[in-house]
């Protein structure tokens, strides 16, 4: 399945680094559905800047540790 966004993310790794936080737990903490977290993790949905900041705040890391936007050449 082709991904509609070039934005990649480290949410899955960050969740596991935080004591295997579940998708449902992360979803509840930022006020979205679990399906939205799944879609973001799989690169099927680019979250708004506000949601992106909320996710970074949950993990207590800068935004660019959660989301990356690779150069076109490096794809």
């Amino acid at each position: 399945m082709s991904k509609p966004t070039r934005i990649t993310n480290s949410i899955r790794a960050l969740r596991f680094a935080r004591g295997e936080m579940t998708q449902a737990d992360l979803a509840q903490r930022i006020g979205v559905t679990r399906q939205t977290i799944i879609a973001i993790e799989q690169g099927r949905y680019s979250p708004s800047l506000e949601v992106a900041f909320q996710i970074a705040r949950v993990f207590k890391v800068p935004l660019d540790e959660v989301f990356q936007y690779p150069d076109r050449e490096s794809r």
Partner: protein, 139 residues
């Protein structure tokens, strides 16, 4: 599958199903009655009303069988909904434009009402399909 995605499936099935029933009844009447004399208004209103009721019942049944984590939509649901409504609006515009031209041409009410109804149904079906594609493949 989120609550809103399930709701979109239910809406797609009920709106397409109700129109299929309407079409089957009306085509049966057109076969042996001149179009100008076909009684369509009551069937149209009943099938449109039944579609709304079926949609509510269907959504309740789906939630009973497969309960969602949450019944509140979120930012992604709103983005998907906006995308579907935006991309499918042309069916509604086309239906209204066709009805306008037909009214100016003094075409029979039967055809004008039916082209508007078809526009509504295509808008609903296309919008639902686009939303489901967005849910599955991403925005």
């Amino acid at each position: 599958m989120s609550y809103e995605e399930k709701g979109t499936w239910v809406y797609l099935v009920t709106s397409a199903g109700a129109y299929a029933v309407y079409l089957a009844i009306i085509l049966g009447r057109v076969a042996d009655t001149p179009v100008a004399d076909v009684s369509y208004a009551a069937v149209l209103l009943w099938t449109a009303g039944a579609s709304i009721v079926a949609s509510i019942i269907g959504r309740t049944l789906v939630e009973t069988v497969s309960p969602s984590d949450s019944r509140r939509g979120d930012v992604r649901d709103r983005d998907v909904s906006r995308f579907g409504e935006y991309a499918s609006r042309w069916f509604l515009v086309a239906g209204a434009a066709a009805a306008l031209v037909m009214a100016m041409a003094k075409v029979d009410y039967f055809w004008i009402a039916n082209v508007i109804y078809l526009g509504f149904v295509l808008w609903a079906v296309a919008g639902s399909v686009l939303k489901l594609v967005a849910y599955r493949r991403g925005l």
